[in-house]
Subunit: 239 residues, 2 copies
C-alpha cells in the first residue's frame, strides 16, 4: 500500500488530495474518487480510500473540497466553507471535476473505469458529476445530499447511481428522496436507492457518536451493508 498527498488545482485554488494504491498491482486499475463530508478531507474519507486500494486493488483518490486540505470540526464552520460551492452548481462541479481529472490521469488508472463515491456532501459531489455527464461508470452516495439547483437532463447521466440512506436521516427527508427518484427517472438514469431502517445521518462515520446531534450517528450494520453493496456495484460496473 502506497499513500501520498497530491496537489492539484481548480482555477486558482490549490487542493490537496490523498492518493491510495496497491503499488504491487500491474496494469491499469479502476479509479475511485472518494469525496468527504462537509468538514473537509479528514481521516474518514482517507481511510475509505485506503480500504478501496487494499481490499479491491483499485486506485483511490480522496478529494479535497475546499483547498489546502482544510478541515473544520463544527457544522457552522463547515457550512461557511460549503455554502459558496452549494450556491453554484458550476463551481461545485468544477471542484469535483478537478479531482476526477487528477485521478483519471494517474498512470495506473484506467480512465474508462472510473467511479465516484462520497459521504454526505461528498455524495453530492458524485451526483453533481453524474448530472454533469462526467465519464463515470458509477456513483455511490452514502447518506448523500440529493438536492440540486441544476436537475439532471434527459440522457445526460452516464453513471449508474447507487444511493444508500438512513431511513431516519433528518437531513434527507422522504420528500427529498421522492424528488430525487423522480429527477433520476425523468433523466433516464440507471439508479438504485437503499433505505436502512433505524439509521440516521453519517452512519458510515465511526466518529459520529450522536453526541453533537441525535440525527448524526454511526451505525455499524448500515455501514457494513452499504459497503458490501458498493463492492457488488463496482463488480457490476467494472465487469
Amino acid at each position: 500500500m502506497k499513500t501520498e498527498t497530491i496537489s492539484y488545482r481548480d482555477g486558482d485554488v490549490t487542493l490537496k488530495g490523498f492518493l491510495a494504491q496497491d503499488e504491487t498491482r500491474s496494469g491499469k486499475q479502476p479509479g475511485i474518487l472518494v469525496m468527504p463530508e462537509a468538514f473537509g478531507l479528514g481521516p474518514h474519507a482517507k481511510a475509505r480510500a485506503e480500504r478501496i486500494a487494499k481490499e479491491l486493488g483499485y486506485v483511490a483518490l480522496a478529494g479535497d473540497p475546499y483547498g489546502d486540505g482544510v478541515q473544520v470540526t463544527t457544522l457552522p464552520e463547515a457550512m461557511k466553507l460549503a455554502t459558496p460551492l452549494f450556491s453554484s452548481p458550476a463551481k461545485f462541479r468544477a471542484r469535483g471535476r478537478a479531482a476526477l481529472d487528477t485521478l483519471a490521469k494517474q498512470s495506473n488508472v484506467d480512465p474508462n473505469r472510473l467511479a465516484a463515491i462520497g459521504f454526505c456532501m461528498g455524495g453530492t459531489f458524485g451526483l453533481e458529476l453524474a448530472r454533469d455527464g462526467a465519464p463515470l461508470r458509477g456513483v455511490v452516495g452514502f447518506h448523500s445530499g440529493l438536492q440540486t439547483q441544476a436537475p439532471a437532463q434527459a440522457g445526460k447521466v452516464k453513471a449508474k447511481i447507487l444511493v444508500c440512506l438512513g431511513a431516519d436521516d433528518p437531513m434527507i427527508p422522504i420528500d427529498q428522496v421522492k424528488a430525487f427518484e423522480q429527477e433520476m427517472t425523468t433523466a433516464g438514469a440507471d439508479w438504485q436507492l437503499v433505505h436502512y431502517g433505524g439509521t440516521v445521518h453519517s452512519f458510515t462515520n465511526p466518529e459520529a457518536d450522536g453526541a453533537a446531534m441525535p440525527g448524526i450517528k454511526y451505525n455499524k450494520s448500515a455501514d457494513q451493508r452499504s459497503w458490501r453493496s458498493m463492492v457488488e456495484f463496482f463488480e457490476e460496473i467494472f465487469a
Copy 2:
C-alpha cells in the same frame, strides 16, 4: 440436484410444495421457504428454489399457497383464490407456517437457520410470518405486497427484513412504502428497502412481458441486482 413434490397440510387443506436440494451435501443446511406470486406455485418460484439449492447449497421449499398445487393464469382468478387469505391474517399466516414447519423438519435442514423469500404475494407471506414472530433469520420480499391488517408489534419481529421494489411499481405506491417503513421502525425490526429506478411490478419474472399490463414487467437488471442482494443478505444472516 434432487427435486420432488411433497405434500403437507394446513388444517383440512392439502398443499403440494416443491422441494429442491443438493443431495451431495452432508450436514444440515439453511432452509429457504420460497413463496410464489398470486397465480399459485408455478415455474418461476420452482426455478428460484432450484437456483438456491444449486448455487447456494441450501434446502429450498417452494410453497403452495392454495392447495393441490393449483395454478391460475388470470388476475381475477388469482384474486378469487387470494382474497380469502388476505382477508384473514390468521389464515394467511397459518398457510405460511404450514410450509415453514414442513421445511424446518426436513432431516437435512437446520431449523435454526431458516429464511423466507417471496414474490409479490409470496413476499407478503414472508412479511406476515415475520410479523407473527416466526423463527426466521431473514425475509426477502421481491416486488412484495407490504400491507397488512395486523401490523407488527414492538419486539415481535425476529427476522431481518430486506424488501426489493420497483420504484415505478403501480401496485406498491410510495405511501404504502412509507407506511411499511414506519411500521417496521416502530416495531423495532431490522429492515432494509431497495428501490430500483425504471422498474415496475414482477421484475423478477421473465414471463411478465408487460403485455397484459404495463405495470407488470420483467427487468433483468433489477432481477440480477436483487438476487445478488439476497445472496449477500443470506451470507450475513447465516454467518
